[in-house]
């Protein structure tokens, strides 16, 4: 009982922290909380929210959104099936959605997200998260015009998972990357949910293709990562280089016939371990298994 109380207190303290609002550019702002980043686009037509964190965080997230706009949430886009990106859908819409049928929020993700959430084969089915999604897409890009701005949703196949989306706010010139890009920590390559190292690198290269840097490689297109600070193209380059270089090292070790344990012992990420949070062994193992599973 004491442990439970302690756990509740811990959870409570995490979300006692206020969610911060950071205007990015154009109509787009970044909300920063302990659970990661939320992207918000506001205007006369209502609000677009990319990723909703968790149900527990919803009051703080909504309070932050209300600093930007009083209009209802009309669109919710989930960039992956991760609980910290999707589990706030229902609670957030209860607080910030409209009760008018014509303004009912559309909650959209790639169809693989929904498939994974309802599948019993890949862990415990997350029925309530699945039920919070009322729209899916399978043809990329999925786009719509909202608040006078083209909103483009691109599927990034087999990257962090097989249901990842990145969202481009074309007039504001802001990309919301989800967990494909996490500048302060190693990326999670979720192999059981269809992720792969090559897909992740392809997705990062796609972001670089879409982003246009300002003068002397600074500013221009801004990138809101799934976790971590606001970034631009130059920051994505550093991250892409890190993933690519460690991938190349692991690939070379596989070619030499090294086992997973031998690769881990060689510490191919050791010059990045002081910079990126997370467990290097988990990252290296995911790369090893991802490359070993590839057909020649």
């Amino acid at each position: 009982m004491k442990l439970l109380t302690f756990a509740i207190l811990l959870c409570g303290s995490a979300w006692a922290q206020e969610v911060q609002v950071f205007p990015v550019q154009g109509n787009v702002s970044m909300l920063v909380g302990p659970g990661g980043n939320v992207t918000v686009q506001t205007g006369k037509e209502g609000i677009v929210v990319v990723d909703t964190q968790t149900a527990a965080a919803a009051p703080q997230v909504m309070a932050a959104i209300r600093k930007l706009s009083d209009t209802p949430i009309i669109w919710v886009i989930n960039t992956s099936l991760d609980a910290d990106h999707i589990s706030g859908n229902e609670a957030l819409l209860r607080l910030g959605g409209s009760t008018e049928a014509s303004l009912r929020a559309r909650v959209i993700a790639h169809e693989n997200v929904l498939n994974r959430l309802v599948a019993s084969g890949s862990g415990q089915a997350r029925v309530s998260d699945a039920a919070s999604i009322n729209d899916t897409y399978f043809k990329s890009p999925k786009d719509f015009l909202f608040n006078g701005e083209p909103v483009m949703i691109y599927h990034m196949p087999a990257a962090h998972t097989d249901g990842d989306s990145i969202v481009l706010f074309r007039r504001s010139d802001v990309i919301s990357s989800g967990d494909i890009f996490t500048p302060d920590r190693y990326p999670v390559i979720d192999l059981p949910n269809g992720g792969s190292v090559q897909g992740l690198i392809d997705a990062l290269n796609r972001i670089l293709e879409m982003a246009v840097a300002g003068k002397y490689q600074e500013g221009g297109t801004f990138v809101i990562p799934g976790h971590g600070r606001l970034c631009d193209e130059a920051d994505v380059v550093e991250f892409r280089d890190m993933v690519t270089i460690i991938r190349d090292r692991v690939q070379d070790m596989i070619k030499k016939g090294m086992t997973l344990d031998q690769v881990k012992a060689a510490k191919p990420s050791r010059d990045y371990d002081t910079q990126y949070r997370g467990t290097p062994d988990v990252f290296v193992e995911a790369i090893y298994k991802s490359l070993s599973a590839r057909k020649p």
Binding site: V32, D235, D241
Partner: protein
Amino acid sequence: MSKLAALMLLSLPVFAQVDFSGEWAPLYHENGPERLPGPELGDYTELPINDAARLRADSWDADRISVVEQYQCRPHGSDYALRGLGNMRVSRDIDPATQRLMAFHTHMLAWDSDRTIYMDGRAHPPEYANHTWQGFSTAVWEGNMLTVTTTHLKENYLRRNGVPRSDQATATEHWMRHGDYLTVVTVIDDPVFLTEPLVRSDNWYLDPGQHIGVFGCEHAPELPKPEGVVPHHLPGTNPYLREVSEWYGLPYEATRGGAETLYPEYRLKLNGYKAPPKCDRYCTCTTLFDCQLR
């Protein structure tokens, strides 16, 4: 008479304030070969780097600049901009209502880099704000010395031969003016790549006739490679790391950097080392025009 004295006292600044405004031309008598022709590959001398930084630098391949276009127009970070192509213009903002100094502005020749050094007591941005090449700088007076603190730097280099400096670093600069000469001592703390602070100094002389032109830069692919290739050397395969040791007659271990190699006691570990009888590479390197290879 006493009213006049009071007025004179009022016109004195509350704190010691030196005007750094003007056109400053760099002096390269310190670390000339590193700063003018550019550092040799594998030269990590004078850098208190950790193993992570060393391997990152060993892995660095200069082809990356030709292949990854996004590297081509990257400016130096403001901590490195003082080192090279450092022709600098300094101006200042004075609040007309209070006559208080609100900010210094620096403009560097290289990449037209502009920086504002805020003097108005503002806080630095939150940690989730974006980072820039110049970072976010504030300053305070310490006597006649201006102490500048810069955070929010983008990842860049401690030396432009691949030795990295992380985006978590803080640069503390001490600006000191002695007549027509300016000295800036920079202290870099980087919890990611340094085991102790890196200290270095740079100097300028006042050059009122200096004209800083437009730098300009346009990126373009210079080497045809498949999309997404990032040139680098796999660990243990970089063939160029011993060049600096061989060319300058230095012990290889000493060129690998690290805090220990910075101190005089390190010489005791180099038993039997004899310096080469004469210098034959970049021996007179103090301006852009007198750097001779051999």
